[in-house]
Subunit: 215 residues, 4 copies
DNA sequence: TATGAATGAGTATTCATTCAT
DNA sequence: TATGAATGAATACTCATTCAT
């Protein structure tokens, strides 16, 4: 066997491998798309593995070649959701000129994302909660998701530092905005905010005003 | 039969009735305690009717004598939780002299209650969510629970009005505090707040400071 | 103790006993009425003991003082139904002058009774079937109900004999009419007769015509 | 790969497919057999899904792979029963030369089938009744079963037309025979016919005699 | 006579997961 | 890589009946 042929073989192998990976990724993607659809239509409770498999045109058993467990599918869904979230936040922040408008832009993007995709919030809390127990991997996945989440909120911390805050203060500010928005969304989406005849957008606006008022 | 004996009989009857009621209430209480225990140990998902019955030393069927459905048990649990919450908030507010300290006291009591009883928060969100569908009066129960919740936060709105805010502003303030605390708790309890090296208590303190700063 | 007083006592006893029996019979009647209502509204499946008790304003357990079992209630219901049936048949026959019209009258009364009270037919078949197993008494009850049923159809046999048939032939004729009507009703009530675009009344009329045609 | 081998592969594929189908059909058949056994032993009431599964050597859940619901099992059982019925009727009719003997043959085959398989009658009435509600296509199934039933009785209508009856008359005749036989069977099988010391066979014979007597 | 409380057996159905093929 | 078949455990809830009071 000549060198050339070896190289060719390796190349073919590599290409074959790459193609395999690509095909696999595509299939995973199709399953996740199906999961997203089921999930959006039926909510967390209705998004059984069977339902997802059916929607994806698969047998339930087939999904186990692509994901370790149902939780793994959820986790992948959440990871992808966090990616979209980050894109939205980054996009919004990019258009803002001043640190203050960057904080506002990031906050509103964050709020808007979940207000328009309430199920993604569900997903987040489901997994960040008691889920993730069974299949061990939990730990790694958790930190990965955590990092993705932190990245999404980083623009707020960055802008806060640009405003003269210390790093600790900046982090606290990001956390504060994060918590406030999550609280508002939860109460809003469960209809509890109606009790106070309060609109979440107004409350958020006021919160940002107070937060950004010159001290 | 003399008048005296008649009176005694009536009294006995009444007492018998009262005892029956008391016994019933006690048994309901025991079941609810069992439910709380299971709930604390296994989380909402694991708190099946069977599990609750077993923990209470009953057969599943027996619970249906005391409660109409599983959701009814949850609802009772939540109602009782909201009662305790209100007691805590009212107790804290009673000790405060000025409107501002009353807001702070109420907010901290609210926060403290759920920080110490995280499962009660779960319960609230479970029921305030999609639950409550199948049996029971759903609707009635929902409004009753809503009212209990609103009552717990009323001290904040009252104090806000005492500070000179309009009724609408006062309501918004209660909603704002409510949302902020819920957000903080959720992130704290799911460990997300650690990402920002932020302590929920500090964040709440700062939020209240900003909120109560003279404009 | 004087004779008079003895008599009075006995009388009182009897009266007391009689009253007790009367009261008991009345209560049984009230329960049966309730059962009939539930039964008419919900059908056999829905007529649970609980439902009957509730409708009668009783606790399920209370019914066991008046009836041995659920089957016993059904049996009493059926007995009463058969009484009403007999009244209808007898009433119809009484108005007819000739043997042939008596056969017709009896048949139509029988048909009409069950066409208007389809649930009574259900009841009959339920009990005449596999039911009646548990509580032993089955045997006695069965023969009693059988006799009541036979009595209802006796007018047909009588009229047949009046037409010159032997006793055996007359019995066969009654059986024939009975079977034909039951068959028609069953198929009619389950909608199977529609398959043939046939009306049960016409079929019955023709059957009677053939049966009564001079040989 | 030569053409021959391709052909072989296709054949294997087809056979594989065919085998899969065959295996599936066989398993369904085994389950249905089990159901029939349970059904015969315990009656309709006792033929729970669990019992059927146990008898078939399956877990309850496994049955859901082969049938959509318990009602679907019943429906399949009935469909198969109607097939056997039709075979018997068709077979009997095929041997008869004249229209009149064809009517008689069909009627006796129909009668004989249910006299020997009383449970099939139960099944029919159960499903043709209120059943069929929950899952499954109910409607479709109902009409399919109706058609199967109608087909079984078609020979009678055909023969009636051959005798010179109009189509409507022929249909009525089929309905009449159907009703009479069902009535006889029901009374016979529940022991009610004994009341009249009447044998169902004699009554059917006489009914057919009258029906087929030249007018 | 009636109740309240409780039982135990039962119902059909759903779930995530596994494994031989 | 995917399927078909199967599992075992779980679900909430209903039933007729019993028994101490």
């Amino acid at each position: 066997m000549s060198e050339g042929s070896e190289a060719l073989e390796r190349q073919a192998e590599v290409r074959g491998h790459g193609r395999k990976q690509a095909v696999d990724a595509m299939k995973r993607g199709l399953i996740l798309d199906a999961a997203k659809r089921v999930f959006a239509a039926e909510g967390l409770e209705g998004a059984s593995l069977r339902a997802i498999a059916a929607e994806a045109g698969y047998t339930p058993a087939a999904l186990y070649f692509h994901f370790d467990s149902k939780e793994a599918i959820y986790a992948a869904l959440l990871a992808e959701s966090l990616d979209r979230l980050q894109d939205m936040v980054d996009g919004a922040v990019a258009k803002a000129r001043t640190p203050k408008t960057r904080v506002r832009a990031a906050a509103w993007a964050f709020y808007g994302f979940y207000a328009e995709n309430p199920h993604d919030l569900d997903l987040g809390f489901y997994l960040f909660r008691g889920g993730m127990k069974p299949k061990g991997v939990g730990r790694d996945r958790d930190t990965a998701l955590n990092e993705a989440l932190a990245r999404s909120l980083q623009p707020i911390a960055d802008a806060a530092q640009a405003l003269g805050h210390s790093e600790a203060e900046a982090r606290a500010m990001a956390a504060d905005v994060f918590a406030h928005i999550v609280g508002l969304l939860l109460l809003h989406l469960t209809g509890r905010l109606r009790l106070f005849a309060a609109a979440p957008e107004e409350l958020l606006e006021q919160h940002l005003d107070r937060l950004l008022a010159a001290p």
